[in-house]
């Protein structure tokens, strides 16, 4: 530890930290542009100058290690002068276009120029002009504004793992870009917008949309993948205008995947905003009362079941389950993709290591998942672990995938899994040598005829290779969407019998629904489920309700209503509550607190937000015959990352991405 005095305040910081970090520990704010705590240190903007006793010149605090007994001054005349000078240089080539700049109002350069800069420019010469670059459909560039901090270059190289951005030419002619024009091949590109301290990289869909001070900001949770990314939904006049990540070191650090960030324009398109009832084979607009009456008539005397989709919140799921119970039914399903999940124990279907736990792992086996597309943010965490710890990563799945880190491709199908169970595979050695080995099993790997065996086999590999320890749980299932775990917690696994007479689809595809069955579709986007429905009930999307979400870890988080659902659409648990009344089986709650109390009763883990890291003391595995894994290859589960759920399929931005990145898949 080193004792450092910052403006007279004494702090003790670990040896080797930078002066900037010591100043922060002392509660002093240091202006900066190039420094970012999650990136390597570049030390090229010089904004972080401080004075150190006995040093002849101001020093760049971000790149200067502390020394014991150091005396630092962050507000001396030398420092103020230095910062003013740096600011003046930075602004020499920076255009004065703040009034038309989308970063305006939340720009580090603007803020720091106000706080630390001079009040006028002495520069009378011409400013340099730089051609804008094309980086893809999501990131807009206005390169005149670039101050060459190289944060974007470091983010792309270090975090996203796609070394495609760079600084070419030199001096006055230096430019940031890809040099040979191309769209950045990353699912994390939106983070470049956050990380750029000026308005050089901004959001293309958000261009000229609004000003930050006009936005209502609501903290929530992303559900378009299973990461559970913490988000802030920015809305104005009842419309979501953008979504940004919030920092949560346990989950997403401060990153966010592009689908979650940019698909929200799908919330406005192809929405179900009023009830519909099918009469004489055709759907007709109806009132809520008519819809409920039609349901009462339609399900009368029929065996009913319910299916929960992939974007379902826990409140809606529990209300649906209660409604079914009140109607005498226990036919519940949520595994619409056919994944053979065994929900008898929670650790059979969650990401037990925890996302932050990845950083403790010292060996990793990936089975039938492409984490880069299943969860780009979790993939970035794995990349971070590989980059800092050099841990071995074994991969079973398609050959030649670029996961952004080195992987040891073991094979593409069940044969490798069988060999691993035998303990004879070379990767067994790697796992046995590790102290904290983990595996990630893709949900997609369970959605095949031998899915139950794959699950059992993966568990067995975990058990046999030291992944299941009392203080370490290395078995992880990686889901695809943020609404897939809560229904599992609520027992939506009893199944829909083939002779079902009526099915209540809560945002679910009509898979396994027999012809002739009476179908109720409740949801926000009408796709196959709505087309097949006899009654459509318009529900709320994730930004439109106060709801509990469970991510792939099993972490319980709460999202909050940012905007009201459109038209007559309502929060889903309320719809179910209202329907129960008409069906003569009134559900015993009529407030959010009431549903949440019921939720806690139905499954205590859903009582409130949280995630407890846990070990594994019971190594008995899931049902399923571990020996029954077929040789079939594990196919890439996510074919089209950009259009994977009803919201992103309705999004024009995502369609543009699909056209850019998957030209062969575009319609």
């Amino acid at each position: 530890m080193a004792k450092v005095t910052v403006d007279g305040i004494e702090v003790e910081v670990p040896n080797g930290v930078s002066v900037l970090q010591a100043c922060e520990a002392a509660g002093k704010e240091i202006p900066r542009f190039c420094y970012h705590e999650r990136l390597s240190v570049a030390g090229n903007c010089r904004m972080c100058l401080v004075e150190v006793e006995k040093a002849p010149k101001p020093i760049a605090s971000c790149a200067y290690p502390v020394a014991d007994g150091m005396k630092v001054f962050t507000d001396s005349p030398m420092v103020r002068n230095g910062r003013r000078g740096v600011m003046e240089f930075l602004l020499i080539n920076h255009p004065l276009d703040c009034p038309i700049c989308d970063q305006g109002g939340e720009c580090d350069l603007q803020d720091q120029a106000m706080a630390f800069g001079g009040d006028a420019s002495r520069y009378r010469e011409e400013k340099r002009a730089v051609k804008d670059k094309y980086l893809g459909p999501l990131v807009k560039t206005i390169m005149n504004r670039c101050i060459q901090c190289t944060r974007c270059v470091r983010f792309a190289t270090e975090v996203a793992g796609v070394p495609e951005l760079g600084a070419t030419n030199r001096g006055e002619n230096m430019e940031i870009g890809t040099y040979v024009e191309k769209a950045l091949t990353t699912e994390l590109s939106g983070n470049l917008i956050d990380i750029c301290p000026v308005g050089a990289l901004t959001s293309r869909p958000y261009a000229y949309v609004t000003r930050p001070w006009e936005l209502r900001k609501t903290d929530s949770v992303d559900v378009l993948d299973a990461t559970g990314t913490n988000i802030r939904v920015d809305a104005r006049a009842g419309e979501v205008l953008r979504i940004l990540p919030r920092t949560n070191d346990d989950v997403n650090e401060e990153w966010m995947a592009d689908r979650g960030r940019f698909a929200f324009d799908g919330l406005k398109r192809r929405r179900l905003d009023r009830p519909w009832v099918r009469k004489n084979g055709k759907l007709h607009p109806a009132s809520w009362a008519e819809a409920f009456t039609a349901i009462a008539a339609g399900i009368k005397g029929r065996k009913i079941g319910a299916v929960a989709g992939e974007l379902v919140d826990a409140e809606a799921a529990v209300a649906l389950r209660d409604l079914m119970a009140a109607l005498g039914s226990n036919h519940l399903e949520c595994r619409t993709d056919g994944a053979a999940i065994d929900a008898s124990r929670r650790d059979f279907y969650t990401f037990n290591t925890g996302i932050a736990g990845i950083e403790e792992a010292d060996a990793l086996l990936i089975i039938g998942s492409n984490p880069r597309l299943d969860s780009p943010v979790i993939n970035a965490r794995i990349r971070k672990r590989v980059a800092t710890g050099g841990i071995p990563v074994g991969f079973i799945g398609p050959r030649g995938l670029n996961l952004t880190y080195a992987q040891d491709w073991l094979g593409e199908g069940g044969a490798v899994l069988n060999a691993l169970i035998g303990g004879q595979h070379r990767f067994n050695e790697v796992l046995r040598a590790a102290k904290r080995p983990m595996l990630i099993l893709g949900r997609g790997a369970l959605a095949r005829p031998d899915g139950a065996s794959v699950l059992a086999a993966a568990w067995q590999v975990a058990a046999q290779n030291g992944m299941l320890q009392p203080d370490w749980h290395g078995f992880n299932l990686l889901h695809h969407f943020g609404g897939q775990v809560a229904p599992l917690d609520l027992g939506f696994t009893t199944g829909i019998p083939a002779d079902i007479g009526a099915v209540w689809l809560l945002g679910a595809e009509p898979v396994g629904v027999p012809d002739g069955a009476f179908v109720i579709f409740q949801g926000h986007h009408g796709e196959a489920g709505a087309a097949r429905a006899d009654v459509i009930l318009p529900g709320a999307a994730y930004t439109e309700k106060d709801a509990t979400w469970v991510n792939t870890e099993g972490r319980v988080q709460r999202g909050r209503l940012a905007v009201y659902p459109p038209g007559e659409a309502r929060e889903d648990w309320k719809i179910l509550r209202a329907a129960s009344e008409v069906l003569g089986v009134r559900l015993p709650y009529d407030s959010l607190a009431g549903v949440r109390a019921r939720l806690a009763e139905a499954n205590p883990v859903l009582a409130g937000p949280g995630f407890e890291p846990h070990g594994c003391t019971d190594t008995a595995g899931p049902a399923g015959d571990a020996g029954g894994v077929s040789e079939a290859a594990f196919l890439p589960p996510v074919a089209n990352y950009w259009q994977a759920d009803p919201i992103s399929r309705a999004s024009a931005t995502m369609a543009e991405c699909a056209r850019t990145y998957l030209p062969q898949a575009a319609e």
Binding site: P163, T168, N169, R170, E172, T178
Partner: protein, 211 residues
Amino acid sequence: MVAEMSTGVEFPQPESFSFDEESMKAIDTIVKRYPPGKQASAVIPLLYVVQRQMKRQTGSAWVPNKGMDAVAERLGMAPIRVYEVATFYFMFNMKPIGKFHLQVCGTTPCWLRGSDEVARACRDTAKVGGYGQTSEDGMFTMSEVECLGGCVNAPILQVDDDYYEDMDYESTVKLIEALRRGERPAPGSVIGRQTSAPEGGPLTLLDVPGE
């Protein structure tokens, strides 16, 4: 001065590039100089290899994008890391140049000793419009370069890899005419200076003991 931007995209780029046998041999020797895992250090010498191969094959010494990609692949680097290095250094021509590359040193010592005259002679005789340009006959490209480290014999005109020293207007004209005729005058001082000794011969250390 408006700087020339070489973004490398406004002129036709070859569709492909692969190292020929001579380059391969050179690369093997170069790469061996660096410890295993540090091959990326060979990026600058390899870019020279590309530039020389282009000279051999097309008569114009430059580094096309595909050439940089070939270097990246050979050294296991991301292509952008090679682009960064190649565009940083003026020695690499990012677009096709003429048969001869006239590199006029414009830094202070050379400038004080008359580099403007050398440049004027280049413009007049080689028929090049100015820095960064190529003569219409494709024979000469002219660049302004920073100090070549030969200031004692300033001004310097570097033609491809050779230094011509103690230049003035006339000697530059003569040199260019010779080049045009296909001759390659011996590099070094054009006024007969012995290496970097004073004009007319050494003035000190004349009495070497024991001689």
